[in-house]
Symmetry: C2
Subunit: 333 residues, 2 copies
DNA sequence: AAGGTTGTTGGGAACGTTCCCAAAAATATT
DNA sequence: AATATTTTTGGGAACGTTCCCAACAACCTT
C-alpha cells in the first residue's frame, strides 16, 4: 500500500527503531550519519507518517474538534477561521461540527471527539452541563461570554465593557436619551442581564436614572428590527439614539426606516453590534461595535495548545470589542 | 485509560472476537444472546470505539477533508455546511482546511489527508494539477465550474445556464441594452469566457449583435463596483440594465449610486450573482441569481460517499442557479 | 448412532507506530 | 590493556481494533 517506516528503515539500512527516532524527532542518541540517511530515504520514498498509528501508540493525535452552532453565521465563521489559522500553523488539524444549538448534537460530537481521540475540543455549548464537560478525557476551551466560573477556560468578549464603551461613544456624541434592544429568550449565561446591567451602570455613573420605556427585549432578527422601527417611529418622545443587540436587528431597523418617515442618522442614530459583513454594505453604513471574532478563535486555539502541552491557562479571557465608526450615528448639540 | 473492546468482552463473558463482531455490526454468525450481552455490557461500561485503531486495521476512517479557499466567505461557508450536513448524517467526520487560494497550502493539506488516511477529499483547488490529484490514495470530488473533463467528479454551478436565464429575465422585463461586468484576472477554468460566451449567445439567439462597449472586465470587489457606477453614470448612452459578476460588485455599485444622480432601479436595473447574505439587506434589496451553494456541498458529499463505497459517479454535475427577484430590476416599456 | 452440515466461538496475527530495555559499539578512565 | 562510561543501536511488546482460520457445538441426515 503506502510506504511505511519499515520501508524507510530498510532503504537506509537501519532498524525501524532508529528510523522512528529520527522521524519522530525524539532523536537524541542517533548518529549524524544515520539521521541523514533516514531523512534522505524518507524523502526519496515520499514517506508520510501514518498519524493513525502514531495516535494509537501515543494517544496524541494533533487533532482538535471545533463545535460551533453554525458555520454559516459569519460570527462563527470568523471564530473558526481564527482558530484554524493558529492550529494549522502549529501542526494541528481541525474537525468541524455544527451543532445548530441542539444539545443532543453537541453531545454526539463529544462522542466523536472521544472516538477520534482528539487532543482538545473548542466549543460553544450553552446547553451542556459542566459535569459532563469536566469528565471528558481532553482539555476543553469554551467559546462564549459565560459569567460563572467553570473548570475549563472560557474565551469571549467583554460584553460589559463593550456596552459601556458604546454608550460612552453615543454620550460623547451628545446623545442623552439612548434606547436599547436586548435579546429575549432563555436567559442563557446571563448575557442579557449583563448588558442591561452595563446600561444601567452607565447611566448611574452619569448621575441619571434609566428610563425603562427606552428598553425592549426581542429576538435578535431582521424582522424584529423592522418591527421596532415601526414602534419607535410612532413613539411620542423617541430616543435620539438606539443601541441594538446585534447588527441584524439594526439592519432590519434601517430597512424599515426607508419606508417610514424616519431618517438615519438625522432623526435617530443607530448603533449595532457584531460588525457582520453586511454592516459595511448597507446604506447608510452601520456604525457598530465589533467583537474580536477572529481573535477569539485564535486565543482559544492558543489556550487549547497550552492545555494540550500541559501548561496552565487563564480561566477566563475576555477580549475587547471595538467601535467601528461609520454613518449611522450623528453628533447632536 | 478508556474502556476497550476487551473490557466489554470480559464483562459480557465472550471473546474479543465476538465482541468485535457485534460492535462492528459485521455480525451474522453470532447468537442472539451473545449479541444482547455484548450490547448491554457496552452500554453499561460506556464503551466508545477507538476509531484510530479501527482505521489502522481497516484503513477506513469515516473521515473526509474539505479544502476550500476561505470559510469566512459566505459562499464557501454554505458549501461547507451542506457537505457537513450529509457527512454528519452518514456518520462521517469532516476535517476543514482553508487554502486562501494558495497552491502550496492546498498541497500541504493533501499530505495531511494522506497522513490521516481520510476516506475522501472535497476541494476547490484550481491551482493543483490533475496529475497530482490523480495519484492520490483516496477519491476526490472537485468543487467548481470546471469546463474540461478530468478524472474525478466535479460539482458546481451551471454558469452558462445561469447567465442565460438571468439575461432572459432581464430581456423579459423589457431590457435590451444589458451591460455586463466580468471577472478579470487569470483566466482560471475559463469561467470568464463561459460567461461571455453565454452573453454573446443570448444576444445572437435574439438576433442582435453584442455591443462590446457594454462589457467590462474588473476584479469582483466592492471597490470596483463603486468605480463602475461612476463610469457608467457618466456614459452618454448607458445600458438600461447591468448584470454583475457577483453580488459584491453590485453592492458597491449600489453604494456609489446613492451619492450619484443614478437611481436603482429607476435609472438603471441591477442584477447580482451569488445571493450573499447582504444581498437581502441592502436597500433596495438586490435582485440576484443564487447559486445552489448548500446543494453543491450536499451533492459533492453524496458523490464522495458513493465513491468511497465503490460505486461509480457522474463525471460532472452542474446544478442550476435560480433567480431571486427583489427590488433592483424594474420593468421597462 | 455415525457422519455431514451449519452455526458460533476464540486464539492469534496484523495494521504502523513508539518506546522500553538490553546489547553492541565507541569513547573515556584508570 | 583492562575496565568503566557513554553513545548508538535493534528486538520486541504494546496501542485497540478487525479478520482469518481452526475448533467446537448443535442440529440434520441417513
Amino acid at each position: 500500500m503506502s510506504v511505511t517506516i519499515i520501508d524507510v528503515a530498510k532503504a537506509s539500512g537501519v532498524s525501524k527503531s532508529t528510523a522512528s527516532r529520527v522521524l519522530s524527532n525524539t532523536a537524541y542518541g542517533v548518529s549524524e550519519k544515520a539521521k541523514r540517511d533516514v531523512l534522505e530515504a524518507a524523502r526519496a520514498l515520499g514517506y508520510i507518517k501514518n498519524t493513525l498509528a502514531t495516535g494509537l501508540r501515543t494517544s496524541h493525535t494533533h487533532t482538535v474538534l471545533l463545535i460551533i452552532p453554525d458555520i454559516t453565521n459569519s460570527f462563527w465563521a470568523e471564530v473558526a477561521r481564527g482558530a484554524q489559522d493558529v492550529f494549522d500553523q502549529k501542526g494541528y488539524s481541525l474537525f468541524l461540527a455544527n451543532s445548530d444549538w441542539q444539545a443532543d448534537r453537541e453531545k454526539r460530537y463529544l462522542e466523536v471527539a472521544i472516538a477520534n481521540k482528539v487532543d482538545a475540543v473548542l466549543l460553544n455549548a450553552p446547553d451542556i452541563g459542566q459535569i459532563q464537560l469536566d469528565s471528558l478525557p481532553f482539555p476543553i476551551v469554551e467559546l462564549g461570554d459565560k459569567l460563572v466560573d467553570v473548570a475549563h477556560p472560557v474565551v469571549g468578549t467583554d460584553t460589559r465593557k463593550a456596552i459601556s464603551e458604546a454608550m460612552e461613544y453615543l454620550w460623547s456624541m451628545g446623545h442623552r436619551r439612548i434606547g436599547m434592544i436586548l435579546p429575549s429568550g432563555p436567559e442563557i449565561e446571563g448575557v442579557t442581564s449583563i448588558r442591561y446591567k452595563a446600561y444601567e451602570e452607565f447611566f448611574r455613573s452619569k448621575g441619571q436614572d434609566v428610563d425603562k420605556s427606552l428598553i425592549c427585549k426581542t429576538p435578535l432578527t431582521l424582522e424584529s428590527g423592522r418591527l421596532q422601527a415601526h414602534r419607535i417611529a410612532a413613539l411620542p418622545d423617541r430616543p435620539s439614539a438606539l443601541l441594538t443587540g446585534n447588527d441584524l436587528v439594526a439592519v432590519g431597523f434601517l430597512q424599515a426606516c426607508s419606508q417610514l418617515h424616519l431618517k438615519v442618522p438625522e432623526d435617530i442614530s443607530l448603533m449595532g453590534m457584531d460588525d457582520i459583513p453586511a454592516a459595511s454594505m448597507v446604506s447608510p453604513r452601520l456604525t457598530t461595535v465589533a467583537k474580536p471574532q477572529r481573535e477569539i478563535g485564535k486565543t482559544a486555539a492558543h489556550i487549547a495548545i497550552d492545555l494540550i502541552e500541559g501548561m496552565t491557562s487563564p480561566a477566563k479571557t475576555l477580549l475587547e470589542a471595538n467601535i467601528i465608526e461609520r454613518e449611522t450615528v450623528r453628533r447632536v448639540l
